[in-house]
C-alpha cells in the first residue's frame, strides 16, 4: 500500500466513525426534544426508572427507538473510533510492508484493549 492510500484509509476510518456517531447522537438529541430522553419514537409507553447514565439493556431500548438509547449508541461508536483507528493502522502498516511499525502498533492495540477490559 502506498503511503498516500495508507493515510486515506486511516482518515476514512476516522471520518466514518465520526460521521456515524454524530448522526446517531444528533438523531437521539432531536428525538429527545420531541418525545423526551426516555420516551419512544414508535409510541411504546415506557416506565423508565433506570438513570440516564445506565448503558444497560441497550438493544431492547433501541428496539422501541428510545432517544436515549440512540444517543448512547452514538456515544459508544465515538468512544470506539480511536480503537478501530489503531486496529486499522496495524493493517495499514502491514500492507505497506513496514514490519517495525506493524509490531509497534500491534503492541499499542494490545495495551489499549487490555486497559479497556482490565482497568475498571
Amino acid at each position: 500500500m502506498s503511503p498516500q492510500r495508507f493515510r486515506l484509509m486511516v482518515s476514512l476510518v476516522l471520518a466514518v466513525g465520526v460521521g456515524v456517531s454524530a448522526t446517531l447522537i444528533g438523531a437521539g438529541f432531536v428525538a429527545a426534544l420531541a418525545v423526551g430522553w426516555q420516551g419512544s419514537l414508535v409510541g411504546v409507553t415506557t416506565t423508565a426508572s433506570a438513570p440516564t447514565t445506565d448503558f444497560g439493556g441497550l438493544t431492547s431500548r433501541l428496539g422501541i427507538l428510545e432517544p436515549l438509547a440512540i444517543a448512547q449508541l452514538g456515544l459508544l461508536t465515538l468512544l470506539a473510533t480511536p480503537v478501530v483507528r489503531v486496529a486499522a493502522s496495524v493493517v495499514a502498516f502491514a500492507s505497506e510492508g513496514d514490519r517495525l511499525y506493524t509490531a509497534i502498533t500491534a503492541v499499542v492495540l494490545a495495551i489499549l484493549l487490555a486497559s479497556i477490559f482490565l482497568l475498571r
Partner: protein
C-alpha cells in the same frame, strides 16, 4: 436540561473543539469549568463529558490532519508505546500515591514550561538538522506541507529518549490525575523533540483520543457519561474540531503557539489549585 442550557453547552463545546483541535489538547480545561460553574452540572458528569470531548476533538480533527499529512503517524504510534504503558502505570499507582503533591508539582512544571514556550513564540520552524541514529532507525523524520509558508517543511525528531520518557510521564499523569495529557504531549514533541509546532499539535491531537479511549470504559461503568450532557458536548466539539482542522493548515506555527500558550497557563493554574484543595 432546558433548550437554552443545551444550546449554551453546545456553544461552549464548539469553542472547546476549535481551541482543542488547534492546540492539540482535549478541551477539558474549558468544558469542565463551564459545565460545573455555568450550567450546574455534577462534577462527575462533567468529567465524563470531558472524556467524550477529548475523543470527539481527536477523532473529528484527526481525519483531516491524517489526510493532509499534518499528523506524523509513525511518531504518534511510537510515542503511544510510552503513553499507553504510562497510563496503565498511573492507573495502578492511583491507589497508593497521594495526588495532592503531584498536582502541585505538575502545575509548577507546566507554568515553567509556559515560560520556555513563550521564549519560542516567534520560532516558525525548528532549525534543520540531520537525523540522529535512533531517529533514523525508528523512521522519525518526515516533512509536512505548510500552506502558509507555501513549501514542504522537513523535520526530524531530536532527543528521542527524552521525548519518549516525557511521553511516559504524560501517560502516568493522565492515568493518575486524568488531566493535562494533551499539553504534556505537545510540550514533549515541540519542546523536547523539536518538531514543528503544527506537527506537534496535530500528532498530539491524534494521540489524545487513544489515551482517552483507554480509560473511557471506567467512566462508562461508573455512570459518569450522561447523554443529556454528553450529547450536546459531543456535537459541539465535533463541529468545532472540524472548523479547527480546516484552519490549522492556513495559520502560522506562531499563531498555533499563541493559542497553546494560554491553554498551558490555564491548565497549570488549575492543576495547582486542585493540588491545594480548592477550585475543581
Amino acid at each position: 436540561m432546558t433548550p437554552q442550557a443545551d444550546f449554551g453547552i453546545f456553544a461552549v463545546s464548539v469553542c472547546a473543539g476549535l481551541i482543542g483541535s488547534l492546540a492539540g489538547v482535549g478541551g477539558g480545561i474549558l468544558v469542565i469549568p463551564a459545565l460545573t460553574f455555568v450550567f450546574g452540572v455534577d462534577i462527575h458528569l462533567a468529567v465524563g463529558a470531558s472524556i467524550v470531548s477529548v475523543i470527539a476533538t481527536s477523532s473529528g480533527a484527526a481525519a483531516a490532519y491524517v489526510r493532509d499529512r499534518m499528523t506524523d503517524m509513525r511518531i504518534g504510534m511510537f510515542l503511544e508505546l510510552a503513553t499507553t504503558t504510562g497510563a496503565v502505570t498511573g492507573a495502578l499507582l492511583a491507589a497508593v500515591v497521594a495526588p495532592a503533591f503531584l498536582y502541585v508539582l505538575l502545575g509548577v512544571v507546566l507554568l515553567g514550561s509556559a515560560a520556555m514556550h513563550a521564549g519560542r513564540l516567534n520560532e516558525e520552524t525548528p532549525p534543520a538538522e540531520p537525523p540522529s541514529r535512533i531517529a533514523a532507525a525508528m523512521k522519525l523524520s518526515s516533512s509536512y506541507p505548510d500552506h502558509r509558508l507555501g513549501r514542504e517543511v522537513p523535520y526530524t525528531a531530536r532527543r528521542v529518549p527524552l521525548g519518549f520518557a516525557l511521553m511516559w510521564i504524560a501517560g502516568v499523569v493522565s492515568g493518575l490525575l486524568g488531566i493535562g495529557s494533551g499539553v504534556l504531549k505537545v510540550l514533549a514533541m515541540d519542546g523536547a523533540m523539536r518538531l514543528p509546532m503544527k506537527v506537534s499539535s496535530a500528532t498530539s491531537n491524534f494521540m489524545i483520543g487513544v489515551t482517552a479511549a483507554a480509560s473511557a470504559g471506567i467512566y462508562l461503568g461508573r455512570g459518569d457519561v450522561d447523554p443529556q450532557i454528553a450529547a450536546p458536548v459531543a456535537l459541539g466539539v465535533l463541529a468545532g474540531a472540524l472548523i479547527g482542522a480546516r484552519l490549522l493548515n492556513r495559520v502560522s506555527n506562531r499563531a498555533v503557539r499563541l493559542v497553546f500558550l494560554p491553554v498551558l497557563v490555564a491548565v497549570g493554574i488549575e492543576t495547582i489549585g486542585r493540588g491545594l484543595g480548592f477550585g475543581l
